[in-house]
């Protein structure tokens, strides 16, 4: 009898709570305002984060509410947008990055739109009228400063094959990890299609560890990560050093405990686009404009640990102090990274490194 009561109680609570939750359908980040005339739906990947106040400002300015629909990781989200392009699941899509751009463009999922705010963005970041750059993150090798007091840390990709750094590096599998792929692309950019696989053979000979994803590499294997693992070099982000400093520490350290190998960085740009066939294209365009606004751009660093594309935007204090950005990172043209080419490269990499 008692058990029935418990069951009924939970059912009752559940149903009651369900009704209450109808108004709250963003994961604590977006704001969906039932009173406004329109809502714009932004499809993103799971790592999309923005301060509540920022999106509220958008709604106040335009009267349009924003509904965020996270859809898995970047690749998975893009697949879903492509799959539903005849009947889009949203109005705009954020999260296509350099490695996926050619695939997105080939599938014609975006409508052309050139925001006026693009004047404030460096020209080299504008690659196609269908997409608008929003932020860039550099995938770089990070090193644990404490492990490099005797030996100097590596500075270039070639350094990593030096026996002095044997058994120190952990990388992610490009097939399953976005930073892993970016790093592989960096090696292609440096050594070319003829030489990169040889480079990886040397890395393999130098006892490189391959794991599936960033969490495992950074959180478990990296000595500068929460687990204090055995590897002191990891493929991570240029924003990891500021992230590794405790903002409440007094006094703030001179250097972040984690450093960046500036000669290993690959520049990844993230884009947003208005979806072709969207239900609210005008609202989507306003949102795209907003994502290039100073308010939004100033927020991306602290929210998503990436760097704003808009020039002259003030970075948060920690970023200012501890982030090191390369002047000349590796890049590849988006149309060099076609889906077939990517798959081929991943195949080749897997053959060379894992098998």
């Amino acid at each position: 009898m008692r058990r029935i009561l418990i069951l009924l109680l939970t059912v009752g609570l559940g149903v009651a709570a369900c009704n209450a939750s109808d108004d709250d359908n963003a994961d604590g980040v977006g704001v969906s305002n039932g009173e406004t005339a329109a809502t714009v739906t932004l499809v993103t990947h799971d790592s999309f984060l923005v301060s509540d106040s920022v999106l509220e400002e958008f709604t106040e300015d335009t009267g349009i509410g924003v509904e965020i629909v996270p859809a898995g990781d970047a690749g998975s989200a893009l697949s879903q947008v492509i799959l539903t392009k005849d009947d889009p699941i949203g109005d705009a899509f954020f999260g296509v990055d350099t490695t996926f751009l050619s695939r997105a463009l080939d599938e014609d999922i975006f409508a052309e739109y050139e925001s006026s705010a693009l004047d404030e963005v460096p020209d080299e970041l504008e690659v196609d009228p269908h997409v608008t750059p929003v932020d860039h993150g550099d995938v770089c090798i990070n090193y644990d400063r404490a492990a490099f007091t005797d030996t100097p840390p590596p500075t270039t990709l070639t350094d990593l094959t030096d026996p002095a750094y044997a058994g120190r590096l952990v990388v992610e599998n490009p097939a399953s990890s976005s930073p892993g792929l970016a790093f592989a692309l960096a090696t292609i950019a440096e050594f070319g299609e003829d030489g990169w696989l040889d480079y990886w053979e040397e890395l393999r000979a130098n006892d490189v560890l391959v794991v599936d994803g960033w969490e495992q590499a950074y959180n478990e294997e990296f000595s500068g990560g929460p687990n204090a693992g055995p590897r002191s070099l990891v493929v991570s982000y240029a924003s990891s050093p500021p992230a590794s400093v405790d903002p409440d520490a007094e006094p703030l350290p001179d250097q972040a405990p984690i450093g960046t190998v500036l000669g290993s960085c690959f520049r990844q740009v993230e884009y947003v686009g208005v979806l072709e066939g969207a239900a609210h294209p005008e609202a989507a365009r306003r949102l795209v404009d907003f994502m290039l606004s100073p308010t939004f751009q100033a927020d991306v660093a602290s929210s998503m640990y990436v760097f704003p594309v808009r020039t002259g935007v003030e970075l948060p204090d920690l970023f200012d102090r501890y982030a090191e950005l390369p002047d000349d990172p590796y890049t590849l043209e988006p149309d060099e990274i076609t889906p077939d080419q990517r798959e081929e490269w991943i195949e080749q990499w897997t053959d060379a490194v894992v098998r």
Binding site: I6, G28, D46, S76, P226, P230, S302
Partner: protein, 542 residues
């Protein structure tokens, strides 16, 4: 006339589950398969040929291999465990019996994190360098499925008629001989049923292989995920899904017989239990060994998880990670709200269990009433969702449910529906034998006393099945709470669930976030355990 009305009632009972699973499983899967098999409007089975020629044969082969080894290992450890729980009476037996089930319903992400905490670098067994590897996968599989073998076999073993064994002993057979020639054959239906279930689960295992298997090891499930979600190569994904479906259907057919024999054996078993206190030193030793195995196998990963959640980066004991459960901030930004996510998960799970119990309960009644092929086919059809990739179903939703009256793509209600679809076969498994076990004389007695057919159902069938339905509800709740595949990788309007929050926290830079992910996993584990302990009662089988 009564017989025809009876058949009509059975059909009506079966209609609801068929419709539900048809709309929310068969239709989406068919839609996504259709995209792959009919890319330009005409059937293209070429991808199947590629599968059998290319490296994907290895994947199929590996899937079968790891499933077989996992099943064998689980049986090897589980059958002695079943002996301990069914033949030996000891203090705390009821609690152990209930706790044994908890790993089975834990969310994949929690288990993966727990095993990483145990076997990965920095963990107590980290020096064995077992993550990633096949061994880690096998260990996690045994962890997950131990409960299946123990509960299924124990529930039969406990009620075996002891007189046959005693007769053999009196006739001169030693302990081992008696076990091999009398007990094992009597247990065969249960062992066969358990083997089938464990094989199915390990064959279709996704999260474990994904997280603990590393880059080199992939199974059909993970490959389907990759082809569907990452590459959108629906052609290959469809071919692989067909292979998977073929394997599942074959498995269900072959083991359908085994299930039936198990059901019969359950029905014919004695009502008294033969459990008694350990008498000899040998028995005490064996009992102790089994309890130790249970403690280590099931407890170690979870204990490690809990302990790691209480440790800060410099090794001190702290509750900091738990303080972060309300809100995880990074400066001005809230990057996760685990407690809110927990509330969301519970809401969804309640709705999913209600759906699963109602639909699954109706299905169980229909299957228990029907005899022969159609009942078996319904049972098998409802079990298919266990073997089809959640990502396939999720993507199928996007493709299929996009026009009225089923324009549910943008609706949060798809999440509990997807969870219910996976929970329904488990409800059916738990409830059907309970209904079949109802003595038909009880129904007849009620009829003679004046109760019409509907009254009989309310007064006899329903109350007796209630315990099984409650267990089904508990299981559904736990499974829904921990569901990860569909909710993690498919577009979800609505609030985030706890497993997804944990997964996201794992992927965030920053030292505190990993700790909060661990703490949130412990919370998820605790809620699951409570749900099972509340709804599980001793006299229930699988």
């Amino acid at each position: 006339m009564d017989r025809r009305r009876g058949a009509l009632t059975t059909a009506a009972l079966a209609a609801v589950p068929v419709l539900f699973v048809g709309v929310f499983f068969a239709y989406p899967v068919a839609a996504i398969l259709g995209r792959g098999l009919f890319p330009d409007g005409s059937l293209d089975l070429g991808a199947l040929g590629d599968v059998f020629r290319g490296r994907q044969v290895e994947i199929v082969w590996f899937t079968l291999q790891q499933a077989t080894i996992s099943t064998a290992l689980t049986l090897a450890v589980g059958i002695p465990g079943a002996w301990a729980l069914s033949r030996m009476r000891f203090r705390g037996r009821r609690i152990v019996r209930a706790l044994v089930v908890v790993p089975f319903v834990l969310p994949t992400v929690v288990v993966a994190v727990a095993f990483r905490a145990l076997l990965g670098t920095g963990g107590p067994l980290g020096s064995l360098d077992l993550v990633p590897s096949l061994w880690a996968i096998l260990a996690a599989h045994v962890f997950f499925n131990y409960a299946v073998v123990v509960r299924v076999v124990a529930s039969l073993w406990e009620h075996l008629d002891p007189s046959t064994e005693e007769a053999a002993r009196v006739l001169g057979a030693g302990r081992v001989r008696t076990f091999v020639s009398i007990t094992l054959p009597a247990l065969a239906p249960a062992i066969a049923a358990a083997t089938a279930i464990v094989f199915l689960f390990t064959f279709a295992s996704f999260g474990i292989v994904l997280i603990l298997g590393g880059p080199g090891l992939s199974t059909l499930e993970t490959e389907i995920y990759r082809q569907t979600a990452l590459f959108l190569d629906l052609r290959t994904a469809a071919a692989l899904t067909l292979v998977q479906l073929g394997a599942i259907v074959a498995l269900l057919t072959v083991t359908g017989r085994a299930q039936q024999r198990y059901a019969t054996a359950q029905r014919l078993r004695a009502t008294t239990s033969i459990a008694r206190r350990a008498r000899t030193a040998g028995e005490r030793l064996a009992l102790g060994a089994n309890l130790l195995v249970m403690g280590v196998l099931l407890g170690a990963p979870l204990a490690t998880l809990a302990l790691r959640s209480l440790r800060s980066t410099d090794g001190a004991l702290t509750l900091d990670a738990y303080r972060g459960l309300d809100e995880v901030r990074r400066g001005p930004v809230v990057i996760a709200e685990p407690l809110a996510a927990a509330a969301t998960s519970i809401r969804y799970a309640v709705l999913a269990s209600v759906l699963a119990v109602v639909v699954g309960g109706l299905a169980a009644f229909a299957i228990a009433r029907g005899r022969g092929r159609s009942a078996r086919m319904l049972d098998g059809a409802l079990a298919l969702p266990l073997g089809v990739s959640a990502v396939t179903v999720g993507f199928g939703f996007l493709v299929a449910l996009d026009s009225p009256p089923l324009d549910l793509r943008g609706s949060w209600v798809l999440v509990p529906i997807a969870q219910a679809v996976v929970a329904i076969p488990l409800v059916v498994r738990a409830v059907t034998p309970a209904i079949r076990a109802i003595d038909p004389h009880l129904r007849e007695a009620a009829a003679v006393l004046g109760a019409g057919p509907r009254r009989i159902w309310r007064e006899v069938d329903l109350p007796i099945a209630r315990r099984a339905l409650l267990l089904g509800a508990g299981f559904s709740f736990a499974i829904a709470l921990g569901e990860f595949g569909a909710t993690a990788f498919v577009a979800r309007p609505g609030s985030t669930t706890l497993p997804v929050t944990i997964y996201r926290l794992l992927g965030q830079p920053g030292p505190g976030n990993f700790g909060v992910a661990l703490a949130a996993s412990v919370v998820l584990m605790a809620i699951t355990a409570v749900a099972i302990l509340v709804t599980d009662t001793e006299r229930l089988s699988f």
